[in-house]
Amino acid sequence: MHHAEHVMGTVVSIDLADDLPAPVLRAMIGDVCSWLHEVDRRFSTYRDDSEVSRLRRREIDVSDCSADLRHVLEACADLWRETDGYFDAYAAGPLDPSGYVKGWSVEVASARLAEAGSVNHCLNAGGDIRARGLSAKGEPWRVGIRHPWEPDKLSWVLAVTDRAVATSGIYERGDHVFNPRTREPAHGLRSVTVVGPDLALTDAYATAALAMGEAGLAWLAKLTPEGYESAAVTDDGRAFTSSGLPTAA
């Protein structure tokens, strides 16, 4: 069963492939959607009444925050250290954990689906994907990576099971990824895709590597022993893939 939900400023596509009664699948989709809208209400920087906005205005202290937000803040701090400062929730000035929240919320949604009995599903939050089990064809999920210059073409096709696939690129919203070190728009890499076990981290790693520019290639290579494979395209069209990238046959 498929569903596309407008939420968090993008569209989340939900694809449940389990052989379960339609009402059960519908209820599961409903649960995922309400969770994502809840995340939007609580963590959006565009909503004045969100927990994040209230923390920004110092109306509440970190110790007053929900366990979820404290988790998000700690994860952002860990990622800042792990990425040498290139994943920076404060890159634009005030706290903006959106770069972590989206991936994390979909990771949580996928875990909740699995708990509820959906072990075969694929969630795509605006281009960041968490896939579990097999597709309706009984095969690993086929995930295309958008071509960085041709919107209607793919640069790679992956076959994944129980994997997250996140892509950061400068082609969709212009120069919106900044190198936090220089405060200049990132350049050198046009698109970075990271494949790994956790969408929150794959998303953050892809963003950090893009911000690093071409030095991000060496950094991506360093991630492979930890189970994070990658595919990146430079500004001038050179493509780099790690050896364990799960490309479709």
Binding site: G127, I129, I145, E214, A221
Partner: protein, 171 residues
């Protein structure tokens, strides 16, 4: 620690070559004229004023205010270079991370070296690791897929995306 100076860096060989050439031409100019690859300070504007180079050095000498341990600094030599071993900031480039070091004795550079870090952590970003990334040119293809990964689209640009077409086909 990483400065965005990697662009100017060639390979390890290249960097070592630069040092080597400079060494043979004019020793005092080495740390000063060496480009970002051998940014000995790695700290240019961050360095406290007291560590700025003296007037004897070329003006373009961000890189000469080396962040050497004070313990390794000896008496200043006639050329304005301090004795000791000076390690540059580790600089990342597409081929890995390099760190350049020079030894100054009697105000002259007597040795220059460039090394890849060999600690367990950084060993994974040495040349073999970057070589493990396969290089090609970006391919363009159309294929039947279940989902498309790409830079995050907005609610507005979604309608033009491949993912929207997939959702429509499955609706």
């Amino acid at each position: 620690m990483r400065r965005s100076t990697a662009a100017a860096v060639g390979t390890l060989t290249g960097a070592a070559l630069i040092v080597g050439v400079r060494l043979s031409v004019s020793a005092p100019a080495v740390p000063a004229a060496a480009p970002p690859a051998v940014d000995l300070a790695g700290s240019g504007q961050d360095a406290p004023p007291s560590k700025k180079p003296s007037g004897k050095k070329p003006s373009n000498s961000d890189s000469s205010d080396a962040d050497a341990d004070s313990s390794s600094e000896g008496a200043a030599g006639g050329t304005g270079l301090k004795n000791g071993i000076f390690k540059g900031t580790a600089v990342k480039n597409p081929y890995g991370t390099i760190q350049v070091s020079i030894r100054v004795e009697g105000g002259k550079i007597t040795a220059a070296d460039a090394t890849y870090p060999t600690t367990a952590d950084s060993a994974t970003i040495n040349p073999p690791a970057i070589a493990s990334l396969k290089q090609s040119t970006v391919q363009s293809q159309s294929a039947d897929v279940d989902a498309v990964s790409g830079a995050t689209f907005t609610s507005e640009s979604y309608v033009k995306s491949l993912q929207a077409a997939i959702d429509k086909a499955n609706a």
